[in-house]
């Protein structure tokens, strides 16, 4: 009793029990139900549904577009997050608040707005089409919608991490002779990379499941611009709940494998980073490379 340490939350047992019940109710139960329902079909039948030509095409579109959208956001989101943390500028609070808007906007509204904007006669579509590029009603439109929807994930994950890197670290690297590029690649990037991966993974996971915004801009042509959630809806329209759950389970499994891979990568880089050197040493090393 005497050795019991003081913690903020009362009782580890209680807190753990609460967490488990909460997670079970919220996540495990519905997902378990999904898997259970799908298991009414045999494995072979589920595979038949998942490996149909239209399903395969939809998986390609869904995962491909989500990957691209998450990658685009990983790049531009990093820049946005960096600027929001490091530079004071007029209207910064306003810009900061803008980042969250894709969360707040009903996704259907986002989809309709983007479709109107990028259609052949839209404000932006008009000019883009002059270059021979069509956005609305093509797979590219799907990438645009998903990029819009998932921007906050990367920015919001990176912001606190960038805030944690003191500017002194950059100064130290610079004073030891590191170039800007070296400082970024050898000092800053390793520190934010795990968070960047998290942001990427969140954005990707959200994009894979997105339906509301995509259907309004995708065009929904079979084999070309149908996303997997649309096929699931299509099955429900046929009152084929089993087929819909089968597709959902396969999609879930694929997403889980991909997210697990991202997590492993993240764990690996975080570990390597922690074991190797603190930031200050990295700064010194980076400068060493410059001499």
């Amino acid at each position: 009793m005497a050795a019991k340490s003081q913690r903020v939350l009362p009782g580890f047992g209680l807190a753990l029990g609460y967490s488990l019940v909460y997670l079970s109710l919220l996540i495990l139960l519905p997902l378990g139900g999904l898997v259970l329902k799908a298991s009414e079909l045999g494995f072979g039948q589920i595979m038949d549904i998942a490996l149909g030509e239209r399903s395969l095409a939809a998986f390609r579109v869904s995962f491909g577009a989500s990957f691209l959208a998450a990658a685009v956001n990983a790049f531009f989101g990093l820049i946005v997050a960096w600027i929001l943390v490091r530079y004071p500028f007029p209207g910064k609070r306003f810009v900061d608040a803008l980042v969250d808007l894709p969360f707040a906007l009903p996704t259907a509204v986002a989809g309709i707005t983007l479709a109107t904007l990028y259609a052949g006669n839209g404000w932006l579509g008009k000019y883009i089409e002059l270059l021979g590029i069509k956005v609305a009603y093509t797979p590219l439109g799907i990438v645009f919608a998903l990029t819009f929807i998932t921007l906050p994930f990367v920015v919001r994950t990176l912001q606190p991490v960038i805030e944690d890197i003191e500017t002194e670290v950059e100064e130290a690297a610079a004073s030891l002779g590191a170039s800007r590029w070296q400082t970024f690649v050898r000092v800053i990037f390793p520190a934010i990379f795990p968070a960047l991966l998290t942001g990427f993974a969140l954005a990707f996971a959200r994009a894979v499941g997105e339906y509301g915004s995509v259907i309004f801009i995708a065009g929904n042509l079979p084999l070309i611009s149908e996303i997997t959630p649309l096929l699931i809806i299509s099955k429900l329209e046929q009152y084929d709940v089993l087929g819909a759950t089968a597709l959902a389970v396969v999609m879930l499994a694929l997403s889980f494998i991909l997210l697990l891979a991202v997590n492993l990568l993240q764990w690996w880089t975080a570990n390597r980073h922690r074991n190797s050197e603190p930031l200050e040493v990295a700064a010194a090393k980076a400068s060493g490379g410059a001499q």
Binding site: G52, T116, A119, A136, N220, P222, E237, Y239
Partner: protein, 332 residues
């Protein structure tokens, strides 16, 4: 510990109190664009029912995609009546035992108080000279329609084109399938729903022709002005029905069968039919159809029952996985 039952009983009391204001409450689960139809119909019925029985009736509406709505009812949404835009959605409830098997015979006209038809909307002056279904298959013509597999509007369009192709000299299932392949090739996209297709055509100016409900054409005139488009009536098109039914399981539990029956029956009254006509839906009442002839020019139509042997059969042949729609895209 004592506070909890107190709040609970207060909550219960307030619930009972609010229910007591009305003698009966009906929930009507309906399809998406029926909002205006029933928004106008409900006060008319309330007045009639008050006069007839002295009862104050509260009417609630729930709108959504037709198929989504019946799934919600099957999953426990306590709707007393369903007013849908596809027979197979009501069939689904009948299969689940919520609605009488012979629901289509419980009311006149196949239990559909009003109808509409699939028509073409073209740009002002009809620059591509689109007159009939055959013109939709012409190379270089862009056709805008909602997803044929996932939306009622799209399915009606698909079946209309199919029926037309069947009725051509030498027409068969094979020629119809070929014809649909050509029409669908002319679709640059499949819209998410009826209204989305309208927006794409009218606002984003995509396509040469939009296929939609006749009733929607009048909505477009209201929204975008009459001068911007023309309505073209094809030589043959589908008469679309809007079936209504009582949800037996719910009304028996709530004791609202009498009211539900009257609510749906009254759709066939002069008042109910006039309301339909004012919402650009073809009334069953012949006199009213004449009175509103400026909305409803004569039209050669077919019903799904006549050509396809019922909504369920049409759905199974054409829109289930592996049906004719899928065959157009996946050659297997």
């Amino acid at each position: 510990m004592k506070r909890f039952p107190k709040t609970l009983s207060a909550l219960l009391l307030s619930l009972i109190a609010s229910a007591a204001l009305a003698d009966a409450t009906l929930l009507n689960a309906s399809y998406d664009v029926a909002r205006d139809v029933y928004k106008n119909y409900n006060p008319v019925f309330q007045k009639y029912w008050k006069q007839k029985t002295g009862e104050t009736i509260e009417l609630k509406q729930s709108h959504g995609g037709s198929t989504k709505q019946v799934r919600a009812v099957a999953d426990g949404l306590e709707a007393d009546v369903v007013t849908m835009n596809q027979a197979n959605d009501v069939e689904f409830l009948a299969d689940k035992g919520l609605v009488a098997k012979d629901w289509a015979k419980k009311f006149p006209n196949n239990a559909s108080p009003y109808t509409s038809a699939m028509v073409f909307i073209v740009r002002k002056g009809n620059p591509k000279d689109i007159k009939d279904w055959s013109d939709l298959a012409a190379p270089g013509t862009q056709v805008i329609l909602p997803h044929p597999k996932n939306t009622g509007n799209g399915r009606n369009t698909y079946l209309s084109a199919w029926a037309w192709a069947l009725k051509q000299p030498g027409g068969s299932d094979k020629t119809a399938l070929e014809f649909l392949g050509k029409v669908l090739k002319n679709a640059p996209l499949f819209a998410a729903g009826g209204r989305d297709a309208t927006t794409t055509f009218m606002q984003r100016r995509m396509g040469d022709v939009l296929v939609t409900f006749e009733s929607e054409a009048e909505m477009i005139a209201k929204e975008f002005g009459k001068g911007d488009f023309e309505v073209v009536y094809p030589s043959l098109t589908m008469q679309t029905e809007f079936p209504v039914a009582i949800v037996d399981k719910v009304v028996d539990k709530k004791g609202t069968r009498k009211q539900a029956q009257a609510y749906l029956e009254y759709l066939w009254s002069k008042d109910g039919q006039e309301n339909a006509a004012q919402n650009y839906l073809r009334p069953r009442d012949a006199d009213l159809l004449k009175k509103y002839a400026h909305f409803f020019p004569p039209l050669k139509t077919f019903t799904v029952d006549e050509v396809f042997g019922g909504a369920n059969k049409a759905f199974a042949t054409h829109f289930r996985d592996g049906g004719t729609f899928d065959q157009i895209y996946v050659q297997k």
